[in-house]
Amino acid sequence: MTSFKIILSLLKAEISKAWNKPTLEFAVGFIALISITSIGTLVKIVEQVNFQSSFESMIVEALSKNMSSQLLPLTLFCGILMSLSFARDYEQGLMQTLLSSPISRSAIFIVKFMAIIVPLTLISWGLILFATTINFYSNLTALITILQIVILALPMIFLALMFYGGIATLISLTIRRTIPSALTAMLAGFFVWYITTLKSDMIGAFADYLCLTPYKAPQVALGRTLGLTYPPDTIESILPGWGFIVLTVIYALVFFIPMYLHFTRRFEIRE
């Protein structure tokens, strides 16, 4: 119980340290700007017989567009905040104090990691929910439909951010200097996004496989889960929906697990 209290105190301290003014305000403002502007004015004419399915597809399209617009800034924020959490503590000597405390290394790593990922996920998802609700809300039935659809974005955003958090942790634990770590992590996030913008005239047939990249896989996983249709004979439509979910989970853990092992097995002391 005491150790749980200590971990909770550490979590509170980490959250207040990383999300100190003006980080939280800036993150909320920037993501809100993207969320609100990515959804246009609602005007759509449909047949009454197909109304419910058309209404759901309108929400799914808006959600998919919103998540897609948010991911790049989220990766950049994730890079900066992870550097503030890990690299700055090494730089200022706070990490050494933390590691000499009775809290396990495992708890320190998970608390520091989640103190960034969870609030960022909640900010992003909350603003997606806000933007979708104010755009499509008309009655209680519509609100329930919106909630049923938007709730599925929550795990996908979390898993996507786990990947970028993992990269940023790797960079932070390697460089251990705040500014260089933040810049490198942002650059890495930007690169992961940039490769998805390449067209087939530049990279040939590889362009067909860009949906399998860490940037696109969570979006396609969400799209397939929500029943979004993709052009026939593309990887997005050929691969089953669960395939993209599995891929997203693998990406989420691909850096997280090695970094966890690196941190908890005291590799840096052996260095």
């Binding site: 305000e25 609100i36 004015t41 609602l42 005007v43 759509k44």
Partner: protein, 171 residues
């Protein structure tokens, strides 16, 4: 305050664009067909019945495939209901026809079209708004109001916080 200001800025600058015309199949004689217009509260717009293209479009009817964009001439009974099921318009008309409707509520406006002609026919329906040039009428009224409320509340809290902080510092 941040979210309120962004919402206010967005709704103040974004206006509902242009024309939306849809046609789904043919309507039998005396059959009633219903379109649903999902729309934000953007104020006055025009509902067009029987037009396949905007009434004042530059498309030359003679240059298109036969009958492709020609307006449908048909006696139709039209009934428009707002999301609260209040009838906004109910008349017998001869298409092509256009009339104004005030979209004051967010939600689904039902447009019932009964073919009163002698043969089955497609009945295209559209919604038109004045084009561009920053038309301030057709913006989303509820988002604008929510933006004002959130901004005012946020500013009040900030001002209150500043006053309390200053007051506590002095005493």
């Amino acid at each position: 305050m941040i979210i309120g200001l962004i919402l206010l800025m967005n709704t103040a600058t974004e206006h509902v664009p242009g024309d939306f015309i849809y046609s789904y199949g043919e309507v039998e004689v005396n059959e009633t067909y219903c379109y649903v217009v999902s729309i934000a509260p953007v104020g006055i717009g025009n509902i067009t019945i029987g037009f396949f293209s905007p009434p004042e479009s530059d498309i030359k009817i003679g240059n298109t495939p036969p009958g492709f964009l020609e307006p449908v001439t048909l006696p139709i009974h039209v009934k428009v209901e707002d999301p609260a099921n209040q009838t906004l318009f109910e008349e017998d008309i001869i298409s092509p026809y256009s009339f104004e409707v005030e979209f004051n509520l967010r939600g689904q406006y039902s447009v019932y079209l009964t073919n009163n002609g002698d043969e089955k026919s497609p009945i295209p329906m559209g919604v038109r708004f004045p084009y561009g040039e920053g038309n301030p009428i057709n913006r989303e009224a509820d988002k604008f109001l929510l933006g004002i409320i959130l901004s005012t509340l946020g500013m009040s809290f900030v001002a209150l916080g500043l006053i309390i902080k200053l007051f506590l510092k002095r005493h």
